[in-house]
């Protein structure tokens, strides 16, 4: 072997060896000691969330830097503890944020309090990247917080996995049917429209069809909108047929319920009640908002985020100056009265973020104090400023939502009937398969074909044992 060849070979072997060694550095686990540094007088804590001043979730970011940090520092000073709280905020796509914090959890430079989407809890828990609060902070300390009493059980479930508490929810939302009262008036539909079945929805849409240049119904479909299709399309409908996506430990495959959902999609899109092209465009969701604000869309299934941030008369990205008089809302009906999950007449889906304590934190007790602080009634109210939003606390909701009929509606009528997505590691794959099923339907396949293909995709993704139906 020539000298150069030998050198190359040695280099390759050395690199490979180093690679293996470092690869072992990925995913190391440490034991967490909840009493670590409990008496420290100089403490540094970092809060991580996907919000940045001037960009995404600007309000949340400013709340942390302008209220939480100064107030908490002051309160701790009064107790004789010097605390420095830093804010690590970015404002990128959810997927990119998730990748970043996943990487952070594997090292010890992550924040002490990290905000994650509730839907990710399952996979992070299974990967050991987050640990139950009881383990990180200590059971007594966790149970001792008085805030738990103000958080409804359903909402608290957002921060739970396999029965254990992992974090405190930040807030939640609810999904309803928004409709344009002006367009409704033109076709003789009432201002206080409340459909009681899917047929009622299609009937209203058919009336709207007569208006020129107006798309009657926007029911998210296709793969371009990713999770928005599942959350604002498939899952509410599925709940309306009486099933949740993961029931009795199995995912819904080609079952009667899923078929009913796909049939409805077929009905809507074949009957020209919705615009299939819109679902296939990369910016379709944004466009649908624009169309609604321009009075070219009649009915839209969305979360209260639509009311608060999209068509808000002042700060919305597709503002409607006459939002308060022109936009109506109605609960999403089950397929027929009584057919919904839990024999409900109406259904909804909700999501939200939670804040967890990083198991690798150096100051678990202090981090827990900070977390409690951020979730106190005072702090929660401060976060909202003079905007209105559905928070995790009943007491705060009662106060701040008084002036906003839409959000009070969500808090009072929608939250009690809503469901949450299962925080299991496989959920994203199931969601993708559901999106693909709707994509098949709008591109011309029959609901039956789409359902069969869906079953196959699901089995390939999660394994036959975990799928019902087919």
């Amino acid at each position: 072997m020539s000298p150069r060849r030998k050198l190359a070979l040695t280099a390759t072997v050395a690199t490979a060896a180093m690679t293996m060694a470092l690869a072992g550095c990925l995913g190391q686990q440490q034991e967490s000691d909840s009493a670590k540094n409990a008496d420290a007088k100089d403490v540094t804590l970092t809060i991580t969330s996907n919000s940045v001043a001037g960009g995404k979730n600007d309000l949340g970011a400013r709340w942390v830097t302008d209220w939480v940090i100064p107030e908490f520092t002051k309160a701790q000073k009064a107790k004789g503890v010097n605390v420095t709280v830093k804010y690590d905020g970015t404002g990128v796509d959810d997927a990119d944020y998730k990748a970043k914090i996943a990487l952070d959890f594997g090292t010890d430079i992550g924040g002490d309090i990290v905000e994650i989407d509730g839907i990710w809890l399952g996979e992070f828990a299974q990967g050991g990247q987050v640990r139950p609060l009881d383990d990180v902070v200590g059971k007594d300390k966790v149970d001792g917080w008085d805030g738990w009493g103000q958080i409804p059980d359903a909402v608290e479930a957002l921060g739970q996995f396999e029965g254990k508490r992992y974090g405190i929810p930040v807030g939640t939302d609810g999904r309803v049917l928004f409709f344009n009262k002006k367009l409704f008036a033109q076709v003789g539909l009432p201002d206080d429209w409340q459909p009681k079945s899917w047929d009622d929805i299609t009937a209203a849409a058919v009336s709207l069809k007569s208006l020129p240049g107006v798309t009657p119904l926007q029911l998210n479909a296709g793969t371009a909108m990713t999770e928005a299709t599942t959350m604002q399309g498939v899952l509410p409908l599925l709940a309306g047929t009486g099933a949740e996506i993961n029931q009795d430990g199995k995912w819904q495959g080609d079952t009667k319920n899923v078929k009913e959902v796909l049939d409805f999609y077929q009905q809507v899109y074949r009957g020209n009640l919705g615009d299939p092209l819109l679902q296939q465009e990369a910016k379709g969701r944004d466009k649908s908002f624009e169309l609604f604000s321009q009075n070219k869309l009649g009915i839209l299934l969305e979360s209260d985020y639509f009311w608060r941030s999209v068509v808000d008369p002042v700060t919305g990205v597709a503002k409607m100056a006459d939002r308060d008089t022109a936009v109506g809302w109605a609960k999403i009906p089950a397929k027929e009265p009584g057919a919904g999950v839990g024999k409900q007449d109406f259904v909804s889906m909700s999501g939200g973020s939670i804040r967890v304590v990083n198991p690798k934190t150096k100051y678990p007790q202090q981090a827990w104090e900070l977390l409690q602080f951020m979730n106190s009634a005072e702090a929660t109210k401060a976060r909202l400023g003079d905007t209105a939003q559905v928070t995790q606390r009943d007491d705060v909701n009662k106060e701040v939502l008084k002036g906003d009929p839409m959000l009070s509606f969500i808090a009072e009528e929608v939250l009690p009937i809503t469901r949450y997505r299962p925080g299991l590691a496989d959920y994203p794959k199931v969601s993708t398969a559901l999106q693909q099923a709707t994509a098949d339907v709008i591109s011309g396949k029959s609901a039956d074909e789409a359902a069969t293909a869906y079953q196959a995709a699901l089995v390939a993704a999660v394994g036959e044992d975990d799928v019902a139906g087919g």
């Binding site: 990925l26 940045v52 960009g55 990487l103 624009e290 941030s309 990205v317």
Partner: protein
């Protein structure tokens, strides 16, 4: 030479003019949106006559990180570009003059590896490696990583230019007693200038648009370059907040001023 153009020449001339006009339109028309949206109070996705306002600009200047991010971009790009150009030229020169068999193949292999590294799949290795080296959150280190990714391509491009510098020039210079460094600086570099200018511009643009590496490796928002900040200009649900487009215009302005000074300067 005839005084008036023949029919053929006229035909050729008109084809040339039409071609240029079409090309110009092709490149300019899509930019119209950029000219109107920043001044529109309610910019939409389609092109329309704007509702003129300067509000968007005010919001941009008020944005706590917008202007800082442009400075960060410049720092990052200067580091990455300088390192890439200098190291790349040296390496290309050495590889060109002291012929190694299989040089081209080796370079292309490195080029292929660089395509793996700039993809999303490599983010874990890069992140963990930088973490182990303690280089997270360093703008200079990030600039070096970006340069590392660009070097194979830079050397690949430069080798052609340096290969084409006639060896006779160098031989004459050596006859006159020039040292190798002098040969490089005074004989080879001036002739290879267009190539180096190309690399400078290319490297600067690549570094300017790089999102993934700064996003992963820089922790503080204050250190993020404009490329990352642009991705954050969205509201809570992800609907793009189009009113922040003026940041882009500023970005362009800075880019034109500082980016292409190099180009103009060196290309004598």
């Amino acid at each position: 030479m005839t005084q008036f153009m023949t029919f053929r020449q006229m035909l050729r001339r008109s084809v040339y003019v039409i071609f240029m006009a079409v090309v110009l339109a092709f490149f300019a028309v899509p930019m119209l949106w950029l000219a109107s949206a920043p001044f529109d109070s309610d910019p939409g996705l389609g092109l329309r006559w704007p509702d003129w306002t300067l509000d968007n600009w005010r919001i941009t200047f008020d944005h706590p990180y917008a202007l800082g991010s442009l400075v960060n971009s410049i720092i990052l790009c200067v580091v990455a570009t300088a390192v890439t150009t200098v190291f790349g030229t040296l390496a290309a020169y050495a590889l060109s003059r002291v012929r190694i068999p299989g040089r081209d193949a080796l370079l292309y292999l490195l080029l292929l590896l660089s395509s793996v590294v700039t993809g999303t799949a490599a983010m874990v290795p890069i992140f963990v490696m930088m973490f182990q080296l303690g280089l997270i959150n360093s703008q200079y280190a990030t600039g070096l990583v970006i340069a590392g990714g660009m070097l194979p391509a830079a050397i690949f491009i430069l080798k052609d230019f340096i290969d084409s510098v006639p060896r006779s020039y160098e031989e004459s210079a050596r006859v006159f007693g020039a040292s190798p460094t002098q040969v490089l600086l005074h004989v080879v570099l001036p002739v290879a200038r267009p190539g180096i200018a190309t690399i400078l511009v290319w490297a600067f643009v690549q570094a300017w648009g790089n999102f993934l590496l700064p996003f992963l490796l820089l922790r503080d928002v204050e250190r993020q370059p404009a490329a990352v900040l642009l991705r954050t200009l969205k509201d809570e649900g992800g609907s793009a907040n189009l009113t922040a487009i003026p940041v882009v215009a500023l970005y362009l302005f800075v880019s034109k001023r500082y980016g292409f000074r190099f180009h103009g300067g060196i290309k004598a």
